[in-house]
């Protein structure tokens, strides 16, 4: 038995032990047991997937064969390993976080069932990723869907939670069905259920079947990934789920949808049609824009993060779409860059979104509210949570030196390379989608400035926000670890990209590493064309040689010609420069500019007010109000105003305002859909006049029609 299988066995054993322990132990001991077993299981998964990613030693086990359905197999390759790795990170953090977090449910809900479901979810996620054939994949997928529904619906006493759970389940099941049909269509043409056989057979597929398979699978996995217009379940499910489940939902489950799209479109059915890529690209950009727009105007911190997940899934999908277009138009090197960017973003999103959800959960559990209008000033009371939330917010806003920047920058760069495709139509689509992504990036900054500032800065706008204390250490540490990862993945893209490249290499047949991370600091530098190298020497690429630990520069270049660079970035150098800059300006200010002056601390200048009250400071609604004014046409607000008066109309004692934004998908997609369905139904109903001769006439008309057709 090889060691990956041993690790897998240990993982399964730990999970099983977790389930048994959960059933044996009393409720109050359960969180700790869950923390230990599932974090150890997560460590196993990390080790297993990390090793696969680094040295490529996957495995393939045939379990048992079922009559008529083929053999059930488990296999782990680099692609699955990559997703397993990001799942492992999130599960590890969420498990440690759960130890203290779950105590809030003690006495209300059964922690025992939570533990059981949690471990089972972990196993089902792993099963989805290591499934080697259609059947085990579908079994794992269905288990994952149902278990995640049960966990989201954990606080089942609230009516809205139940509704959100139903929506999630029904949309998810519709998606599963479509995905199953798509995979079965492929399996049908391959006459096998094994993944490895599907790819060989798909080359011979007719474009019509390819399209059908693509659309069905894209819909099926798109629902899970939360792409528009199938994203409506996501912002409802997230706020009702416990924070650790939210982190897993966003950091792991959504990624499984991406995994499905990736697996189908670069493995089973490599893109040969530009159209499929464009569909992915457009849906992705639309998701990004719609997601961030609603995130910006949302005030519930967890709903906001859910909308932002839609946005990030959109960015990933648009990266994938760009990759499909490049693959189909025979630019494998560019496709490699786009895919690398998309996978990189998926990993980054898992890390920072898990971090932000854990942060939001901490705020929720400490203050009892998720409404940013009611929060404020928490940084004084929750300094560590605030710091780590800030790191997450900076990362998700794609600001260097954090990880969001590296992957979003790469995605946008790969869009710019679309100029190499000689088609005006494709160029136009890329231009629009690129513009949408740029707008998304801008709005994302607004959104997370608001999220951080309105939650952690300023004055506390409610009593609970005034009286909080810092969370338990088991909640702080996982957030700190995730924040550290945000920095590591942001500063060292040059180490991540080669790994991604090796992951994707077998499918694309071309590498992005050469195009992205030239080996300046390695002995292989001599392999580069001399004029290319000298170009970089002019740019100062060798400056850090001997001083810096290794590759620090990510460039996009056209190969060995003169003046080849398209773009270059170096988050690691930026980080060092940033540190030096901040440090030296601190020293200059402290030692030189303010020398001889004493520091006197005074309250902020409030214009000479009697007292600055929290009710006089900006709220989250106020902060995002300009955005809702600008996007008024999209948001479709319905406002109701009620003014209560006394004696005379000029004395208002209360002005009540309620505003509900109709989601764009509701008025653009679902409302027309519902009303046209109703219209058709009404039209049909009109046929039922109740008169016998009318029915006789229908029969006659039908008969005549059939005769005519014959």
């Amino acid at each position: 038995m090889s060691w990956p299988i041993v690790l897998l066995a240990i993982f399964l054993g730990l999970s099983a032990a977790g389930v048994v322990l959960a059933l044996l132990l009393p409720d109050r001991r359960n969180p700790l047991a869950l923390g230990w077993t599932s974090s150890l299981a997560a460590l196993c998964i990390l080790w297993l997937s990390g090793a696969v990613l680094l040295d490529g030693s996957g495995f393939q086990i045939s379990l048992w064969s079922l009559p008529g359905l083929g053999t059930l197999t488990l296999s782990l390759n680099r692609l699955a390993g990559f997703f397993l790795f990001s799942a492992g990170i999130v599960f590890l953090a969420a498990s440690v976080f759960s130890v203290s977090y779950l105590r809030r449910y003690l006495g209300h809900y059964s922690l025992r069932s939570f533990s059981v479901l949690y471990h089972m979810l972990f196993v089902s996620v792993a099963l989805v990723l290591i499934a080697g054939d259609v059947l085990s994949f579908l079994i794992g997928w269905e288990a994952m869907a149902i278990l995640s529904y049960l966990l989201v619906n954990y606080e089942h006493e609230h009516q809205e939670n139940v509704q959100a759970g139903w929506l999630m389940l029904s949309m998810g099941e519709a998606g599963t069905l479509a995905a199953a049909v798509a995979v079965l269509v492929l399996a049908n043409s391959a006459h096998s259920l094994e993944f490895s056989k599907l790819r060989i057979a798909s080359a011979a597929l007719e474009p019509g079947i390819s399209w059908a398979a693509f659309l069905l699978s894209f819909f099926g996995f798109g629902v899970k990934a939360g792409l528009v217009p199938f994203s409506t379940w996501l912002p409802r499910a997230h706020p009702v789920a416990p924070a650790n489940v939210s982190a897993i939902l966003s950091g792991v489950i959504l990624n499984l949808g991406i995994y499905g799209i990736v697996r189908v479109n670069i493995d089973f059915l490599p893109a040969t049609l530009v159209g499929t890529g464009l569909v992915t690209l457009i849906v992705g950009s639309a998701s990004a824009l719609v997601g961030i727009l609603y995130a910006t105007t949302e005030n519930d911190i967890k709903t906001m993060l859910a909308h932002s997940s839609i946005e990030n899934m959109g960015i990933i999908a648009s990266g994938l779409g760009a990759g499909f277009v490049f693959t189909a138009s025979k630019h494998p090197a560019l496709a490699a860059i786009a895919f690398a960017a998309a996978l990189y973003h998926a990993l980054n999103h898992s890390v920072y979104k898990a971090l932000l959800f854990l942060g939001a959960g901490t705020v929720d559990i400490q203050t009892g509210t998720r409404d940013m209008d009611q929060l404020g000033g928490l940084i004084k009371r929750l300094p560590w949570t605030g710091l780590f939330f800030l790191v997450g917010a900076l990362a998700i806003s794609a600001l260097p030196p954090f990880n969001g920047f590296a992957s979003e920058w790469l995605t946008l760069q790969s869009f710019l390379r679309s100029v190499e495709i000689q088609s005006a139509a494709i160029g136009t689509v890329f231009a629009f989608c690129g513009a949408a992504l740029a707008l998304t990036a801008g709005l994302a900054i607004t959104c997370f400035v608001k999220a951080f500032a309105m939650t952690f800065l300023g004055m506390a706008r409610s009593q609970p926000a005034k009286e909080v204390s810092e969370a338990a250490r088991t909640m702080i540490v996982p957030m700190g670890a995730l924040a550290a990862l945000c920095l590591v993945f942001g500063v060292a893209p040059t180490y991540v990209i080669p790994v991604l490249d090796r992951t994707l290499g077998p499918y694309i047949g071309s590498g992005a590493e050469q195009a992205l991370v030239p080996p300046f600091f390695t002995p292989r530098a001599s392999e580069l064309p001399p004029n290319f190298l000298s170009e970089f020497h002019d740019l100062g690429a060798q400056v850090g040689k001997g001083l810096l630990p290794g590759p620090g520069l990510v460039v996009l270049h056209r190969g060995g010609d003169r003046n080849p660079v398209v773009f270059a970035m170096s988050t690691s150098y930026t980080f060092i420069v940033l540190l030096l800059l901040l440090g030296s300006s601190f020293l200059i200010i402290r030692l030189w500019l303010t020398r001889g002056r004493s520091v006197v601390r005074r309250l902020p200048w409030d214009g000479g007010l009697q007292r600055l009250l929290p009710a006089m400071t900006y709220t989250a609604t106020g902060f995002s109000s300009p955005v809702s004014v600008i996007f008024h046409a999209v948001l479709h607000p319905t406002a109701t105003e009620e003014t209560r008066e006394t004696i005379h109309e000029h004395f208002r004692t209360a002005i009540r305002r309620q505003r509900r934004d109709l989601h764009i998908l509701e008025w653009l997609v679902f409302k027309p859909l519902a009303s046209s369905t109703a219209a058709i139904a009404n039209a049909c109903a009109r046929m039922h006049s109740g008169r016998l001769n009318a029915y006789v006439a229908y029969v006659l008309i039908t008969l005549l029609g059939i005769l005519l057709l014959r």
Binding site: N299, D373, G607, Y618, G622, S625, I647, H648, I655, R656
Partner: protein, 529 residues
């Protein structure tokens, strides 16, 4: 419209036995004494059926009773009617007029705060002139027993201050502006209730600059109280001084010479001219139009210098005296002033033409801060602000004083009620003011400049009024037997207009707020007194 005698007759018939008319010193003034229960009905009738305008509410603590005097003014023949209601001192509860005449709102709140009277049915009494959190509720400085000259020792300082906020909406907050501003502006606090972009409710918290002029005037000789009335607002000092002098002259029965009257008109119009140019400068400044601001500022400074060279003081302080003026102004000096003024007016007209074609400027003031005519009448707005909303009321025309009846002039009026309408009114009035100055300088007769007061007429009471640059002002004066002030009521246009300011500011975006404030051109000092 009904003649005032008809009005009195109708009132006496309608409430027979409960209303009693008596006549005062002024030919068109009369008092309608009425019993407390019908005062609201009577005033409501005057306001909505007889179309009188509300002037002011004068509360007085007499020796044995409270006396509330609601001053109403109408056009020409309608005269000025004082509705007077009296109650014994122990009876401190009065009925409110709020349901029928909204304009009386702040007057009642002020009387409640300063006299400790209670207006039953008024929904918003309390924190007004004397800020809560600094003053005890039972401090009533305007009562006789309160010594206004002694420093007041606060017993309870800085209690929990909670402003009344009424907007209940997700994320609603009150943006505080002031009391200390970022630029050169008077102290006043605005709480703008909002959800982020549009101002839903604008609440001014005024009286930071309350100097209690009405209180500290009590006991002072008339001519010292005149100094106070001039300094209630430095930028319209002459108009206030003139109204005060007219009240004092009415008590003493002084007949001011025609020369002094005409010179007063000339100076009052010079002040209006200067004030309007300054208001135009502020509007330009609020829209960030630098060249236009500088152009208007040049004109303003030239007018200030003209005032100083012409009369000795840049703000026309120290000119008014009871019985005339403190110094004579030569005919040649007047003509010189007219010459300079004409030059300034020409340049002001150029500026107006240039502004009229600046689309970026018009975009910012057109359809901004709109006050409808109905609201303007309901809230009793006065002056250029009311005239920009189609309420063409001007005391110079309605109830002429100081010989205004001998001048022919137009009262500019606009219908739109927005910022641009107010600006147009300011321009036209500035021009009209100069025309009156010109007329006055030409018809200036010879004669004494000042009639010395005899000073032994003793006690009495009279109302003086004037159309100050910002609108109608009423000065009620009651003297003691030794000629000193017993009660001085100073009703200013800003006090009336601030009450309606929120009409313009609400439902507009934050960034329009400074512009709306500039187009209103209100004075805090004149309001706070």
């Amino acid at each position: 419209m009904a003649n005032w005698l008809d009005v009195l007759k109708q009132a006496e018939q309608r409430w027979s036995g409960k209303v009693h008319a008596s006549f005062g010193t002024h030919p068109r003034e009369c008092e309608l004494d009425c019993s407390p229960p019908i005062v609201a009905e009577l005033c409501g009738w005057l306001f909505s059926e007889m179309h009188y305008s509300f002037g002011t509410l004068i509360a007085e603590q007499r020796d044995s009773h409270w006396e509330l005097r609601y001053v109403w003014y109408g056009e020409g023949d309608q005269g000025i009617i004082h509705v007077v209601v009296r109650q014994v001192l122990a009876e401190e509860i009065f009925g409110t007029l709020i349901g029928r005449v909204h304009a009386v709102d702040w007057n009642e709140r002020e009387a409640e705060d300063l006299f400790g009277l209670i207006f039953k049915g008024h929904p918003r009494l309390g924190d007004f002139v004397l800020h809560n959190g600094r003053w005890d509720e039972n401090v009533t400085p305007m009562r006789r027993c309160f010594d206004g000259c002694l420093p007041y020792i606060h017993t309870q300082m800085e209690k929990d201050w909670r402003p009344l906020l009424v907007l209940e909406a997700p994320g609603a907050f009150a943006m505080p502006i002031g009391p200390v501003y970022s630029g050169v502006a008077e102290s006043a606090l605005f709480l703008l209730e909002t959800q982020g972009e549009d101002v839903v409710r604008a609440v001014p918290r005024l009286f930071y600059k309350y100097r209690a002029i009405e209180k500290i005037a009590e006991g002072r000789p008339l001519q010292d109280a005149l100094l106070l009335s001039e300094r209630c607002n430095g930028t319209s000092a002459f108009a206030h001084g003139m109204a005060f002098c007219q009240a004092a002259e009415a008590i003493e029965g002084l007949k001011v010479s025609t020369r002094a009257k005409i010179l007063r008109v000339l100076l009052a119009e010079l002040e209006r001219f200067r004030h309007h140019v300054a208001a135009i400068r502020e509007i330009c400044e609020s829209t960030g139009l630098a060249v236009a601001t500088s152009q208007a500022a040049i004109l303003e400074e030239e007018l200030l210098s003209l005032c100083c060279a012409f009369t000795g003081h840049r703000y026309l302080f120290g000119l008014n005296a009871i019985g005339g003026l403190t110094r004579d102004l030569e005919g040649s000096a007047c003509l010189e002033a007219i010459r300079v003024g004409r030059n300034i007016l020409t340049r002001l007209e150029n500026l107006q033409d240039a502004l009229r074609y600046s689309s970026s400027f018009l975009d910012r003031i057109e359809d901004v801060g709109t006050v409808s005519q109905a609201d303007a009448e309901e809230f009793g707005l006065v002056g250029p602000i009311a005239r920009a909303s189609g309420v063409s009321r001007d005391l110079r025309e309605l109830q002429p004083y100081s010989g205004y009846e001998h001048f022919s002039f137009a009262v500019p009026c606009e219908q739109e009620g927005d910022g641009y309408a107010r600006l147009r009114v300011l321009f036209s009035e500035a021009e009209e003011a100069f025309r009156i100055m010109e007329d006055a300088a030409l018809q200036l007769p010879e004669g004494p400049i000042r009639i010395e007061s005899v000073n032994d007429l003793g006690s009495g009471a009279a109302l003086g009024w004037a159309e100050a640059p910002r609108g109608a002002t009423f000065h009620w004066l009651r003297t003691k037997t030794d000629g000193s002030v017993a009660r001085y009521r100073l009703a200013t246009p800003s006090f009336m207009n601030w009450n309606g300011f929120h009409l313009a500011a609400e439902n507009f975006a934050f960034q329009d707020f400074p512009i709306i404030m500039a187009t209103f051109g209100l004075s805090v000092a004149e309001n706070d007194r």
